[in-house]
């Protein structure tokens, strides 16, 4: 279980939340309201105050990389640091079976990153994050560049991982998607996070 107690960052008001194993909480709000900032603060990627716990272990008690391997933040346009696709995965063979269901070319491991479309990058970045087997996935508009079929495939993939205990906080600009994927919804209004 992920617990946030009085988490605050930049101009967001202190925010507390508990997300049970396998639960999905969605966050909505207008552009620029701080949805990404909230997720980045949970992952400890930006300066922030307040406490975060994974089960009983406090974030501050472990090195940040250890926290981030369990609480993975996936940016909308996640970056790529090497030239080849396969270099971004520690075990490419383990994810090869997941490519076709997401509508990805099974040969794309051999491609340079520059050959990928925005949508292909978004799906591969999701597989890259899931490959760590995180406890919590912080999804920042993970289907913003995808068509309906690919969006459905991504939602199904996340749902499968939730059955084995993955908790997610899902930022989405689409109310329909938020209702479809999540158990609870929150909205960011004028600097504060409120339950819907």
């Amino acid at each position: 279980m992920l617990s946030l107690r009085g988490l605050t960052t930049r101009n967001l008001k202190p925010f507390s939340l508990e997300v049970a194993d396998g639960e999905c909480v969605s966050v909505q709000g207008p552009s620029g309201s701080g949805k990404s900032l909230l997720l980045r603060a949970i992952a400890d990627l930006d300066l922030n105050q307040g406490q975060a716990f994974l089960d009983e272990r406090e974030r501050a008690s472990m090195p940040a990389p250890e926290w981030r391997r369990q609480v993975v933040y996936l940016a909308t346009d996640a970056g790529w640091w090497a030239s080849g696709v396969v270099e971004h995965f520690s075990d490419w063979a383990a994810i090869e079976d997941s490519l076709a269901p997401l509508g990805l070319d099974p040969a794309c491991g051999g491609w340079p990153v520059s050959r990928l479309s925005t949508g292909e990058r978004q799906r591969l970045a999701l597989l890259r994050a899931l490959a760590l087997s995180p406890r919590v996935l912080l999804l920042d508009e993970p289907t913003s560049a995808l068509d309906e079929a690919a969006t459905a495939a991504v939602e199904a993939l996340i749902a499968r991982h939730r059955k084995t205990g993955l908790s997610t906080i899902w930022v989405s600009h689409s109310r329909e998607q938020a209702q479809r994927v999540s158990n609870r919804s929150y909205e960011i209004r004028t600097g504060g996070v409120v339950a819907l």
């Binding site: 990627l45 940040a64 981030r68 391997r69 993975v72 996640a78 970056g79 790529w80 640091w81 994050a129």
Partner: protein, 265 residues
């Protein structure tokens, strides 16, 4: 070997005609360079004459304090130069302080190493040896540190997504920054490597030329030049590695976050 030929003021006045020709060309072709040309010429004459007298006085006194003071002044000027050459400076004193401290450490270590082992000057801090060696090592270390830091800060700003993608997947700051520290160190060290590869074929180094002009056997002058090249390689390497590693640590924090807010916009 033939002796040293002393230059008279008249010799210099004759050579300065070449500057006047440049000025004339600038006027004729409307390059509008004549003002800065005149100013630069004047600065060169004044600065070099002044340093000539300063060095002469220092050589006469052989004081460790005065030599140290001159060395300090050289380092502070070089530090300002490093800060000025950064496109995205670090905020506060870091831009100046990091460059100066790494450059000073590297240049001092290398210079004192040379003065106490290869050159064995008596006393070891004799300004006739200490200041020229320090100057040469300093100049090159300054260039390598400013190139390395500039490359590091500009690529960290540009590659934010790539760095944070690694951090978000649990990489340490050292791992996430590695491609960019590597790039920064390469660009810091390439000029020295290129200079060593081209020297003797394309250009005769200034120090060696100076020794030959003052009557030193060319083979002996070569030995000095090789020594200087080794010292420069050591100084640039040490200075660049400490400055780039220090810069990498400053651009990140102990919670392994990328801290671009510590750079100027």
């Amino acid at each position: 070997m033939t002796g040293y030929i002393e230059l008279t003021i008249l010799d210099l006045a004759l050579a300065s005609l070449l500057i006047l020709i440049n000025g004339g060309l600038s006027l004729w072709l409307r390059l509008k360079l004549e003002r800065s040309l005149a100013l630069a010429t004047l600065r060169m004459i004044v600065q070099l004459t002044a340093i000539g007298f300063v060095l002469k006085a220092l050589f006469l006194t052989v004081s460790p304090w005065l030599t140290g003071g001159a060395a300090l002044a050289m380092i502070l000027f070089a530090g300002r130069e490093i800060a000025a050459r950064q496109e995205r400076k670090m905020l506060g004193w870091w831009s100046y302080g990091l460059g100066v401290s790494c450059m000073a450490t590297a240049a001092f270590v290398v210079t004192i190493f040379a003065l106490t082992t290869q050159l064995q000057a008596d006393p070891w801090y004799h300004p006739r040896f200490a200041l020229p060696i320090l100057g040469m090592v300093l100049g090159n270390t300054m260039t390598s540190i400013s190139l390395g830091l500039d490359r590091l800060t500009s690529s960290a700003g540009r590659e934010r997504a790539a760095i944070e993608a690694q951090l978000a997947l649990g990489a340490t700051r050292q791992e996430a920054m590695r491609p960019f520290t590597r790039l920064a160190l390469r660009s810091a060290l390439m000029p020295t490597i290129n200079a060593m590869a081209a020297t003797g074929l394309v250009s005769l180094p200034g120090m060696m030329t100076g020794q030959i002009l003052s009557g030193v056997d060319p083979v002996e002058a070569t030995k000095y030049q090789i020594l200087i090249m080794f010292l420069i390689a050591g100084g640039t390497g040490l200075g660049a590695v400490t400055a780039v590693m220090g810069g990498m640590m400053r651009l990140t924090d102990e919670r392994h976050r990328l801290r671009l807010d510590r750079l100027e916009e």
